[in-house]
Amino acid sequence: MRISLGAVSRPLESLENKTGSWAVRVPKIDVERCVGCGECYMFCPDGCIEMVQIENRRIAKVDYDYCKGCGICSEICPANAIEMIEKVIE
C-alpha cells in the first residue's frame, strides 16, 4: 500500500476507488423501452451513464463501478425504462 504525505494523489488515481460499492439499489435499463433521449445521462450527478450505439439505436448504459444508486435516472426517465433493483453481490 502506498501512503503519500497529505493524501496527495495524481489525476485519475481516484478511479481506483470503485465508489459503486456503496450502492444498495442500482438502475436497470429496459433496452426495449429506452428511447435514447439522454435525460438520464444529463441528470446523473456522478457521470455514471453513457449513451451507446447498439444496432443503430442510442441506448443508455450504466457504469456500475461508480453508480451509487441515487435513483435520479429512474425518476427522470420519460419512457419509464429505468427500474431500481436490489444490487446482487456475487
Partner: protein
C-alpha cells in the same frame, strides 16, 4: 534593534522577516492589528514577493492559505476565538494535507456569553487536530518564535499555531529586541516543499481514503507528530545558539511543589514561585505533548499544581487532564485550579491562595478560583 512595540508589531515584524508569500486574514479582536501592521508593510512595498489577500471570513482566509500553501507558498494568518473555530474545518484539513501554514492565535474566550478577553478555550478546541501548538509567555518570545515556527512547520509539514494571550500580550507595549533580516535569513531557508500544486502538475491534496487505507494515513500523521518533538527540540536548540535560549519544549525550575501553566500566566506564576521557593513548569509545546519530558521532571516532586484557563465542560481543566495522564502511576499529588476565564485577572495573591489551599490540605481534585458570589435568576 531594541524598540518599545506592541505585541501586534512584534509578531508582524517577525512575519515580515520570514519573507511570507501569501498573507490572508479576516479581522477579529484582539488579533486585527497584527494583520493591519502587515497590510501597511504590504502597502508600503516592504513585503517582497508577497501577496496580501483580504478575505470575507476566516473560513475563506484559511481556504485561500490551503491553496497557496499547496502551491508552495509560505503562508501566514492570525485569528482567535470565533474566527479560529470558523477556520477549524479548513485547518483540520490543512493538517491532514500536511500544509505548513503558520497561524498566530491571540487566545480569546469563546462565546457564549460573548467575550473578547483572554483565556485558552479557543485553541484547546483544536488540540486534537494534528496542528502543532506552542504557547507564548511574553512578546520577546512571541517575536522570536515566528521564524522558529516556520522552520518547525516546514520541517515537519504540519500547520502550527503560535498561541499568545490576547490583550495581555497583543496590546501590551514592551521593549522587544527586534531581529534583523540577516539573522532570520541565515536561520530560515526558503520554503521548498517536496510536493507542489501547479497547472502543469495537477494533484489532489487530501483525497478520498476508504476504510482500507484511511487508518494508515492517520497513523502516519500521529507518528509524524510524535517525531515532530525531535524536530521542535532541534529547532529550539539551534535558535538558542544564535539568539535567546528559551528552553526546550518545557521550561522547568525544580521544587518539591511545582506550579504548572501555559501562556502568559506563567510569568505571574514564576514570580510567586520565586517568592515562595517553589518550582514551576512552563509548557511551551503543548501538541505534540512532551509527556516523557514532563514525567521525568515531575515524577519525584510532592505536589503538582496546575493552573488551567480552559475547561473540558463536564470533566476538569484541559491541561490538568494531560498532566494527570503524563504522571499516571507516579507519586505526586496533582491539584488543579481553573482560573482567569474570559480575561478574569489572575493576580499573584490568587496564585498564593491556591498554593496555601494545597499546603493546608484544603484543596480538592480541582476547583474554580477567583469566583464571585452570584445569584441565579431567570433573566
Amino acid at each position: 534593534m531594541r524598540k518599545v512595540v506592541r505585541g501586534f508589531y512584534a509578531i508582524a515584524y517577525a512575519v515580515k522577516l520570514c519573507r511570507p508569500n501569501v498573507i490572508c486574514a479576516y479581522p477579529i479582536t484582539p488579533q486585527t492589528e497584527i494583520v493591519e501592521n502587515l497590510a501597511e508593510m504590504y502597502a508600503n512595498g516592504e513585503l517582497e514577493n508577497c501577496k496580501y489577500i483580504t478575505a470575507e471570513s476566516e473560513f475563506e482566509a484559511a481556504s485561500i492559505l490551503v491553496g497557496a500553501s499547496a502551491a508552495g507558498a509560505r503562508t501566514f494568518t492570525a485569528t482567535c476565538s470565533q474566527g479560529l473555530i470558523l477556520m477549524s474545518e479548513v485547518l483540520l484539513n490543512a493538517a491532514g494535507m500536511r500544509l505548513p501554514i503558520v497561524i498566530v492565535n491571540t487566545n480569546r474566550a469563546l462565546s457564549a456569553p460573548l467575550s473578547i478577553w483572554p483565556d485558552l478555550q479557543d485553541s484547546m478546541l483544536l488540540r486534537d487536530g494534528g496542528i502543532i501548538q506552542i504557547y507564548i509567555e511574553d512578546n520577546q518570545e512571541a517575536h522570536e518564535m515566528i521564524p522558529q515556527a516556520y522552520k518547525i512547520a516546514e520541517s515537519t509539514m504540519f500547520p502550527i499555531m503560535v498561541c499568545m494571550d490576547g490583550f495581555k500580550l497583543t496590546h501590551a507595549y514592551e521593549p522587544v529586541d527586534l531581529l534583523d533580516q540577516e539573522t532570520v535569513d541565515n536561520f530560515l531557508p526558503p520554503y521548498d516543499p517536496p510536493i507542489k500544486l501547479s497547472v502543469k502538475n495537477p494533484l489532489t491534496f487530501g483525497s478520498y481514503a476508504p476504510p482500507d487505507c484511511y487508518m494508515e494515513f492517520r497513523y502516519k500523521m500521529h507518528k509524524d507528530m510524535i517525531n515532530a518533538k525531535k524536530t521542535i527540540e532541534k529547532v529550539f536548540r539551534e535558535w538558542a545558539e544564535i539568539k535567546n535560549d528559551w528552553g526546550g519544549m518545557i521550561e522547568y525550575k525544580e521544587g518539591r511543589t511545582v506550579l504548572v501553566a501555559l501562556g502568559s500566566l506563567i510569568s505571574t506564576i514564576k514570580e510567586v514561585a520565586k517568592e515562595m521557593g517553589l518550582g514551576y513548569l512552563k509548557v511551551r509545546t503543548y501538541r505534540p505533548f512532551p509527556a516523557e519530558e514532563i514525567r521525568e521532571v515531575l515524577k519525584d516532586c510532592d505536589n503538582v499544581i496546575v493552573f488551567d484557563r480552559a475547561v473540558s465542560f463536564g470533566y476538569e481543566g484541559v491541561l490538568t487532564i494531560d498532566i494527570r495522564n503524563a504522571l499516571y502511576g507516579e507519586s505526586p499529588d496533582i491539584y488543579s485550579f481553573i482560573v482567569g476565564l474570559g480575561g478574569r485577572d489572575v493576580p499573584k495573591t490568587l496564585i498564593e491562595k491556591c498554593v496555601s489551599k494545597v499546603m493546608s490540605g484544603k484543596a480538592k481534585r480541582y476547583s474554580f478560583e477567583g469566583l464571585k458570589e452570584f445569584e441565579e435568576v431567570l433573566y
